[in-house]
């Protein structure tokens, strides 16, 4: 007996088939394309601080495109102002501007990168011609703190004359956008006790760093007559004269890394060898230990348990570092002459051989990346993923034990040499 297929039966069957197909391949089905829309994207902040020269460049936030090119998200600081300094911690990046004496800060919230958030913290900034009685900012005491819980603040010490303790004040900038008109407050010196610092980024600029002082047997931040104790000094640095400069290499909830200052004479003497000793406070145990960092004038950056270092050595003869010829050698549009800037600043008295070192402060692992290029740096370490830059190219790799594996090119573009900060965000 044959079944006669009525037209309506065929129609209903077709509908059913279509429904099944839609379920499998339609909009409601989990697809790779749909996952890509909600997957975290890589954001890259490009900017070259130029405090010491009369040239200015913008700070621009980019997104890494699927074509390995930079896609502009927004300009954070315009070319006309230029950058003074960048301080990043957690979910916030503070970009101070204008370039010589900062008066305002552009804030990048990594949870909402498109949000434009600019605040004036130094409305009476010094100007030789229009405001000679105005306020300067102490470069080496700008710090991010977590004194107010989840929202990082930035502390900017101001003074009309840092030689006179009575002339100082503090601008305390909150990253909490819900505070509306109350985000810049005076004072709050005690917040230095909860300072956070990722350390120094790469690039041709000479970052100011964060300068502490010996206060008895403690490490303190001392500025404009205000002293805030940060931590007890490591045993080897106790009993040093008061106000001996101590550099705070990095500071997190888990670690505090410090080193003593080296004079030009010490660096030039050659007696420091090929590495320097730094002091590491494990905040969880409260114990200090020492660590050696390769190079005598290296720059380090903290990411979780990893201390990432751009190795550099004192360069008495001011020889050009390897890879100098591969750096951008002309000023173009809003891009600096990177080669010139290295020759004047980061590469003038520092020979940077293109060696990046990752040291795990928890388990002692060490990974060495030899790029052979002066203009290279580690941008970020998150979990077992590392991003590092060599000239105009950003690489992503996976940390596997003491090795890097699965290295791929993430971005290669003209403005990549200015990228020194990276984060993922949805």
């Amino acid at each position: 007996m044959f079944a006669i297929l009525r037209p309506c039966s065929v129609f209903l069957s077709a509908l059913g088939l279509l429904a099944v197909l839609d379920l499998l391949f339609g909009q409601n089905a989990p697809t790779k394309e749909r996952d890509a829309n909600t997957a975290p994207q890589l954001y890259l902040l490009a900017g070259t601080p130029t405090e010491h020269i009369d040239k200015t460049y913008p700070a621009v936030l980019y997104r890494a495109g699927p074509d390995q090119k930079l896609k502009t998200v927004r300009e954070v600081v315009p070319t006309t102002d230029g950058l003074h300094s960048v301080h990043a911690w957690g979910s916030v990046i503070f970009i101070a501007y204008p370039h010589t004496i900062p008066a305002a800060v552009g804030i990048v919230h990594t949870g909402d990168p498109s949000l434009r958030d600019n605040l004036v913290f130094n409305p009476e900034a010094y100007d030789a011609l229009s405001n000679p009685g105005g306020f300067f900012v102490s470069d080496t005491r700008i710090a991010v703190t977590l004194a107010r819980g989840l929202y990082p603040n930035a502390l900017f010490p101001l003074s009309t004359n840092f030689a006179d303790p009575s002339k100082g004040r503090l601008a305390n900038v909150s990253s909490n956008i819900t505070l509306a008109g109350q985000r810049v407050k005076p004072d709050g010196w005690e917040e230095y006790a909860a300072l956070r610092s990722e350390g120094s980024a790469g690039g041709p600029d000479l970052p100011a760093g964060l300068l502490g002082s010996t206060v008895g047997n403690d490490l303190g931040i001392v500025v404009s007559g205000h002293t805030t104790i940060v931590a007890p000094l490591p045993p080897d640095l106790r009993d040093t004269p008061a106000f001996t400069p101590i550099w705070i290499v990095a500071s997190s909830a888990d670690y505090l890394v410090v080193r003593r200052n080296f004079t030009v004479e010490e660096l030039a003497s050659g007696k420091l060898g090929d590495s320097i000793q730094v002091f590491l406070l494990d905040r969880n145990s409260g114990n200090w230990r020492t660590l050696r960092i390769e190079g005598t004038s290296s720059r380090s950056r903290l990411a979780g348990n990893w201390l990432a270092t751009i190795v550099a050595r004192w360069n008495a003869n001011q020889l050009p570092s390897p890879g100098r010829d591969n750096e951008r050698g002309v000023e173009r549009d809003h891009f600096p002459n990177v080669r010139d800037l290295y020759a004047q600043f980061a590469g003038k008295k520092n020979l940077t051989p293109g060696i990046l070192v990752l040291q795990n402060l928890a388990d002692g692992r060490k990974i060495r990346i030899e790029t052979g290029q002066e203009d290279s740096e580690i941008l970020r370490v998150e979990g077992d993923v590392i991003l590092y830059r060599v000239n105009d190219t950003i690489y992503q790799a996976r940390i596997d034990g003491s090795q890097l594996k699965d290295t791929t090119v993430t971005v290669k573009d003209e403005d990549v040499p200015e990228v020194h900060w990276a984060f993922w965000s949805k």
Binding site: D54, K55, T100, L129, R141, A163, L206
Partner: protein
């Protein structure tokens, strides 16, 4: 209008001829004479005019060189046409063009339009100075003429005393700076604007965007000096003074309660110190260096020491005498 005036002149002539023929009652002959005259006269009239160019009474020949004087004024140029009449009109165009080693071109065209054909005209420059290759072209009764005249216009350098007088209100180092930049020369040995790498022009070796007067910065030495002074005073002084004072404060902040003053830095014509004590200010040192770009002195946080560009631009300027 000129064409109408021409027909009036020419038909009067033809009428006079035909009247003469009519008086002899030989109309056919009269018409032939008029026709013959029109055939003969027009070509003869077209080939009779020539361009005449003089400067201060002397004929300017092909390939000659005229000079912008030290005042500065453009060379006197008088244009006329031989064989033109009051019924004719002549238009002149003097095109001047120059390209420097960087490929930048200065140019201008001076036009004298619809002048009577029997009159000379002195070219009006309206204060715009231009040099280089000059070409005079002309129209006669609205027709472009194939003959032109080509010559050169170059510049002449002012006296050192004129330069000094012009910049007397400038900063104390201005004459040293000018001598270092150009040796007090606006023009080279060929009378062309002196050019220096990477792309500087004239006495102050102006580069864009300091060339506010554009072509005049090439051919007018006062314009070059004025724009250089403006660049120094209005664009560089403030940032330079801000920079020095900021660097001083950074030292104060890092070294407090102590101090670490910069070492004195001396040259043949400058001596910088802090405290100043009657010497030259480091702020002015930065001001000098900013004219060429970048820093003279900054406080290096990394080593808690002063970084001074002792052998760079400031040394060059401060070791060069004023003239």
């Amino acid at each position: 209008m000129p064409k109408i005036a021409r027909r009036t002149c020419f038909t009067d002539y033809l009428r006079a001829v035909s009247l003469g023929a009519c008086k002899s009652n030989r109309r056919f002959l009269a018409k032939f004479v008029v026709l013959a005259a029109s055939v003969l006269v027009i070509p003869l009239a077209a080939s009779a005019q020539t361009l005449v160019v003089t400067s201060s009474g002397s004929t300017v020949s092909q390939g000659a060189t005229l000079t912008i004087n030290t005042v500065p004024n453009m060379p006197n140029l008088v244009l006329s046409v031989n064989g033109g009449s009051s019924c004719d009109t002549v238009s002149y165009a003097v095109a001047v063009s120059y390209s420097d080693r960087a490929g930048y071109t200065t140019d201008a065209t001076y036009v004298e339009q619809d002048e009577p054909g029997d009159q000379s005209v002195t070219v009006s420059y309206f204060g715009v100075l231009e040099g280089g290759v000059a070409t005079v072209s002309w129209q006669f009764d609205g027709v472009n003429q194939s003959s032109t005249l080509g010559f050169f216009i170059n510049g002449s350098n002012p006296q050192n005393s004129d330069v000094d007088a012009y910049v007397s209100s400038g900063p104390w180092f201005i004459r040293n700076l000018i001598n270092h930049e150009s040796g007090y020369q606006q023009f080279d040995g060929f009378g062309n604007p002196i050019w220096g790498s990477p792309d500087g022009i004239g006495l102050m070796q102006l580069e864009p965007p300091a060339r506010a007067s554009l072509d005049q910065d090439f051919w007018s030495w006062p314009a070059n000096l004025a724009d250089g002074l403006s660049w120094l005073n209005n664009t560089k002084k403030g940032p330079a003074y801000n920079s020095w004072n900021n660097e001083l404060q950074q030292m104060q902040s890092d070294m407090a309660p102590g101090q670490r003053y910069p070492p004195n830095t001396g040259y043949s014509y400058c001596y910088f110190s802090y405290p100043q004590n009657g010497n030259d200010s480091y702020a002015d040192g930065d001001w000098i260096h900013y004219y060429n770009g970048n820093y003279f002195i900054f406080w290096n946080h990394s080593n808690l020491s002063w970084d001074i560009d002792t052998t760079g631009y400031v040394a060059n300027v401060c070791n060069t005498p004023a003239l």
